[in-house]
Amino acid sequence: MDKKTWTFVFCALAAALALSAFVSPFASQLPDGLDKFIEEQKLQVAEGGWPHAPFPDYKVGVIKSEGLSTAVSGIIGTLAVFGLSFGLARLVFRLRRFRVPVSGDTIPIAAQSGHVPGNCGRIKGR
C-alpha cells in the first residue's frame, strides 16, 4: 500500500480523534429525535442498554469530570472501532489471499477473483 494513502488514513483518523476528544464534550445534551418522542409520548423503555457495557452513556466511571470522561470514552471508542473494522477487513483480505489454489492454476488468485482495486465491491465483468 502506498505512502500517500497511509498519510490520508492517518490524517482522517487524527481528525476523528480530535472530534471525539475536543468536540464531543461540547455536544448538545438535549434528547435526540427519538428520545424526545419517547418523552413526549411517555413511553416505557428499559434504561441503559447492554448491562455489561464498560462505558455506559459514553462515560468512563473512574473519571469524575464529565467533559474529560466523555472525551476519553470517545477516544477509546474511536480507536476500538478503527481497530475492529480494519482488523475485520484485513482478515477478510487475508482469507482471500490464502485460498487453496486449484490444480493447474496459472494465474494469481487475486486475478482469478476478478478483483479490481477500489471497485466498490463490484466484480469485474458483471
Binding site: K4, V9, G33, G74, A80, L84, F93, H115, P117
Partner: protein
C-alpha cells in the same frame, strides 16, 4: 435514533436482526472476493470517523438534538455493502461498549441507521447522479439530497417498527418521527457534503462512487 429496549417487539427485533445479519454476511462474502489491500485501512478510518461524528449531537428546534448517521457517506466512500459492515461495527460498538441503544434492539438499529442509508439511500443517490449532469457540483448535490432522504427513510422505518410492535399507531409515530428527522437530515446533508468535498479535493480516487459517476459519461447510465 438509537432504539432502546422495550420499545420494539421481540418479533420485529428478530426480523430486523435476521435482515441485518444476512446483509452483513453477504457483504463479508462479497468483500472476500473484492476487497483490496488499500481498502482495509479505509474501512477502519471511515468507521472511526462515523463513530466520532455520531457523538456530536447538534441542537435543532424545540429542545431536541440530532446526530450524524453517516450510512450514505460510507456507501459513497466504500460501496454499499462495505458500508453495511462499517455501520454494523459502529452501531455494535455503541451498543456493547457504550450502552447506546438497546441490545435486543441492535438488529433494528443496524437496519435503520445502517442498511437503510447504505442500500436504499445509495440506490437513490445513484438514481439522482444518473439524471443530473456529470460534474462535481451535481455529485455533491445528489449526496446532500440522498443523505437527507436516508435520515428521513431511517426515521420512517423506526416509526413503522414502533407501529408494527403495537407501541403506538402509525398515524402518531410516522409524522412525529419524519417531522423531526426532516430537520436532523439537514445536518446530515451538510456534514456528508462537507466531508465528501474535502475527500474529493485531496484524494478523489478514494471516493468509490466518484469514478463510477465519471465512468457513466462514456458508458451510459449502467456504468
Amino acid at each position: 435514533m438509537h432504539i432502546p429496549d422495550g420499545l420494539v417487539s421481540n418479533s420485529v427485533n428478530a426480523a430486523t436482526f435476521a435482515a441485518s445479519f444476512g446483509v452483513c454476511g453477504l457483504a463479508l462474502l462479497r468483500a472476500k472476493k473484492t476487497l483490496g489491500e488499500k481498502e482495509a485501512p479505509l474501512l477502519g478510518v471511515t468507521a472511526a470517523f462515523i463513530f466520532a461524528a455520531q457523538m456530536l449531537n447538534f441542537p435543532i428546534a424545540g429542545g431536541t438534538s440530532g446526530h450524524f448517521l453517516g450510512s450514505l457517506l460510507a456507501a459513497i466512500l466504500l460501496g454499499p455493502l462495505n458500508a453495511c459492515l462499517v455501520m454494523a461495527v459502529v452501531i455494535g460498538m455503541q451498543c456493547v461498549g457504550f450502552g447506546d441503544g438497546g441490545w435486543l434492539a441492535l438488529g433494528s438499529n443496524i437496519f435503520n441507521m445502517g442498511l437503510v442509508g447504505a442500500i436504499a439511500g445509495y440506490a437513490i443517490f445513484r438514481g439522482i447522479v444518473a439524471v443530473l449532469p456529470k460534474n462535481r457540483g451535481c455529485f455533491l448535490a445528489a449526496s446532500a439530497l440522498a443523505s437527507w432522504l436516508a435520515v428521513v427513510l431511517a426515521s420512517a422505518c423506526c416509526a413503522v417498527e414502533l407501529a408494527v410492535s403495537g407501541t403506538l399507531p402509525l398515524r402518531v409515530t410516522l409524522p412525529a418521527m419524519v417531522g423531526v428527522h426532516a430537520l436532523i437530515g439537514v445536518g446530515e446533508a451538510i456534514i456528508t457534503t462537507a466531508v465528501l468535498s474535502t475527500v474529493l479535493a485531496v484524494r478523489p480516487d478514494l471516493v468509490c462512487a466518484w469514478p463510477a459517476a465519471a465512468r457513466m459519461e462514456g458508458a451510459g447510465a449502467n456504468g
